[in-house]
C-alpha cells in the first residue's frame, strides 16, 4: 500500500472517530462541530476562505523567501569574513533567544496591520534554522576536498572553492534547514495575523471564534493545515530535485534494523 493510500485511510479513520464521538457524546455544535458540519460550512464559505488562504499563503511564501535569503547570506558572510563571524554570530543566537512570538505585537506596531508584519514574523522564524543549518554544512566540508583544491589552486582562489565545492557540499544541510523552515513558516504567518490583521486565515479564525462560529473556525484550520502540508511537500520535492546526489542512508520506508517492510 503506498503512502498516499495509507494517509487517506488514517484521515478517514480520524474523521470517522470524530463523527462517532459527536453522535455518542451529544456535545454542543458551538463547542465541537462534527466533520460533516465543518465540510458543509467550508463549501458554503469556499470563496471567502480561498481569498484569505491566498493572503496567508502569500505571507508564508514571502516569509520563506525572505528568511531563506537573509539566512543564506548570513551563513555565507559568517563563513567568508572573520569580522562577520564576530559580529553576526551573536545576532544569530540572540535572534533565537528572544521568543519570536513576543515580538509579534511590536512588529504589528511598527509595520502595520498589513502583510509586511506577517512576512517579517515568518521570516524571523525561518531565519535561524536556515542560517544555522547552512552554516553547519559550510563548516563541515570534507577536508580531503579542501586539500585537493589546495593543491589544484595553490590556495589562491578561496571564492572559487567556496562556490564550486563548499556551497554544493553544504546544500544537503541547507535543505534540512529549509524543511524545518517550511514546516514552521505557517506558524509565523498565523501568529502575526492573530496579533492584528484584517485578512488571512488567522484573522478568519479569530473572527469566527469571537462570534461562536466554531464550524467556520475548523474550516479555516483545515484550510491552514492543507496549506502548510502543501508548502512542506513542495519544498521537499523541490529540494530532492535540486540535490539528486544526496543518497539517504536510511530511507524513510526502511527501518533502522534493516528489516524490510511488508508491502
Amino acid at each position: 500500500m503506498n503512502a498516499l493510500a495509507r494517509g487517506s485511510v488514517t484521515i478517514a479513520g480520524v474523521l470517522a472517530a470524530w463523527q462517532v464521538f459527536i453522535w455518542v457524546s451529544g456535545v454542543a455544535p458551538f463547542m465541537l462541530p462534527g466533520p460533516w458540519a465543518v465540510a458543509t460550512t467550508w463549501l458554503d464559505h469556499v470563496g471567502y476562505l480561498t481569498k484569505h488562504a491566498t493572503i496567508t499563503g502569500a505571507e508564508i511564501l514571502l516569509g520563506l523567501g525572505l528568511g531563506t535569503g537573509v539566512g543564506v547570506i548570513s551563513a555565507l558572510a559568517i563563513i567568508s569574513f572573520a569580522p562577520a563571524r564576530r559580529w553576526l554570530m551573536p545576532v544569530l543566537v540572540v535572534s533565537q533567544a528572544v521568543p519570536v512570538f513576543a515580538l509579534a505585537p511590536l512588529l504589528v506596531l511598527w509595520l502595520g496591520y498589513g502583510m509586511a508584519s506577517k512576512v517579517t514574523m515568518a521570516a524571523l522564524i525561518i531565519y535561524f534554522p536556515v542560517a544555522t543549518a547552512f552554516l553547519d554544512g559550510l563548516r563541515r566540508t570534507e577536508s580531503g576536498w579542501l586539500d585537493l583544491s589546495e593543491t589544484m589552486t595553490g590556495g589562491k582562489r578561496p571564492f572559487a572553492v567556496l562556490w564550486h565545492i563548499r556551497i554544493p557540499a553544504a546544500l544537503p544541510g541547507l535543505a534540512s534547514g529549509l524543511r524545518v523552515g517550511a514546516a514552521v513558516a505557517p506558524i509565523g504567518a498565523v501568529v502575526g495575523e492573530w496579533v492584528g490583521s484584517g485578512a488571512g486565515l488567522g484573522y478568519v479564525m479569530l473572527h469566527a471564534n469571537g462570534r461562536m462560529q466554531t464550524d467556520l473556525m475548523f474550516a479555516a484550520l483545515g484550510t491552514l493545515a492543507v496549506l502548510a502540508l502543501a508548502t512542506y511537500f513542495s519544498v521537499d520535492w523541490g529540494l530532492r530535485r535540486l540535490i539528486p546526489w544526496q543518497t539517504e542512508t536510511a530511507p524513510s520506508d526502511r527501518e533502522i534494523s534493516g528489516a524490510k517492510n511488508a508491502q
Binding site: W145, D147, E150, T151, T153, R157, A160, V161, H164, I165
Partner: protein, 250 residues
C-alpha cells in the same frame, strides 16, 4: 587523436626535502628529515601505521601549515603549483559527473576546460562510456580510476599518492597498479603505501620510514621499470627484504 599524456613539463623534476620538522601535540614526528627523489622516478615509501608516511606526503604537498624545513624541486624553485595529489579516498565531488570531476581543477582555477583531453584520459583508464555518470553510480574501483584520470588531467611533473589503491579489492588493485605505472611513466611519483608487494612491483626506489622522530632508510633501488610481474624473482626477493625491514620475520 591527441596524446593526453605527452607534455614537455612532465619530464625531469626531482624533489628535495631537507631539515623537515613537524610536531603533533608536542611530540616530534620529524626532526631534521632529509629526503630526495630523482626526476622521473617512482618512489615508494613504506612504514608501519602512524609513523608519519601521510604527514611526509602532505608536508611535500604543502598541506601542513605548521611544518618547517626546505622543500624544493630539483630546479631550485618551490614545488607549489607543480604537484598533483591523489588520496586513498577518491575525493570525487558527488554532484559532478565523471567527466566534470576529471576537469575540476580547471573549473577551480577559472581556466577553460579541456573536454577532449579529459575524455581521452577517461578512455585511457577504461571509462570511455561512463563519462556522464555520477560517482554514486560507479563502483569503488571505477571511482578510483576517475580519480587517477583527474590526477593525470592536472598534468603536473610531480605526483603524490597516499595509499591510492588501499581501499579497492585485490584484483582491482593489481589492475590499477599496472595502469598507474604505465600512465605515470616519466613523471616523478612519490607513493605512500602499506603494502610491500605494491612497492616491490612499482618502485624505482623504495624507502622505509621508521622511528620517532621518523627517518627514512637509505632505500632500495631495484633495476628495471615497473610494473614488475608478481612472479618476477626480483619482486619476490624485494618483498622478503621489505618485510624484514618492517619487522616481519619470514
Amino acid at each position: 587523436m591527441i596524446d593526453p599524456i605527452a607534455n614537455p613539463r612532465a619530464s625531469g623534476l626531482g624533489v628535495r626535502v631537507s631539515g623537515g620538522q613537524l610536531e603533533f601535540g608536542g611530540i616530534p614526528v620529524f626532526a631534521g628529515l632529509a629526503f630526495e627523489c630523482a626526476p622521473g622516478s617512482f618512489t615508494c615509501i613504506l612504514g608501519s601505521s602512524g609513523v608519519g608516511k601521510s604527514s611526509l606526503l602532505r608536508m611535500i604537498a604543502g598541506l601542513v601549515p605548521n611544518s618547517q624545513g626546505t622543500i624544493i624541486a630539483s630546479d631550485g624553485s618551490p614545488l607549489s603549483g607543480r604537484i598533483a595529489y591523489m588520496d586513498q579516498r577518491d575525493l570525487l565531488l558527488p554532484w559532478l559527473c565523471a567527466l566534470d570531476n576529471v576537469m575540476v581543477g580547471a573549473r577551480l582555477r577559472g581556466q577553460p576546460q579541456e573536454r577532449e583531453r579529459a575524455n581521452a584520459l577517461l578512455a585511457q583508464v577504461g571509462l570511455a562510456d561512463q563519462h556522464h555518470k555520477l560517482p554514486n553510480q560507479l563502483s569503488g574501483g571505477m571511482r578510483q580510476r576517475v580519480a587517477l584520470a583527474r590526477t593525470l588531467m592536472e598534468n603536473r611533473p610531480v605526483v603524490l599518492m597516499d595509499e591510492p589503491f588501499s581501499a579497492v579489492d585485490a584484483l582491482t588493485r593489481l589492475k590499477l597498479q599496472e595502469l598507474s605505472a604505465r600512465l605515470l611513466a616519466g613523471r616523478t611519483v612519490i607513493m605512500v603505501t602499506h603494502d610491500p608487494m605494491e612497492a616491490a612491483r612499482l618502485g624505482h626506489c623504495i624507502h622505509v620510514l621508521s622511528g620517532s622522530p621518523a627517518a627514512l632508510d637509505n632505500g632500495l633501488y631495484p633495476a628495471g621499470p615497473g610494473p614488475r610481474d608478481l612472479s618476477d624473482p626480483v619482486v619476490i626477493e624485494l618483498h622478503r627484504t621489505l618485510l624484514g625491514k618492517l619487522g616481519v620475520v619470514v
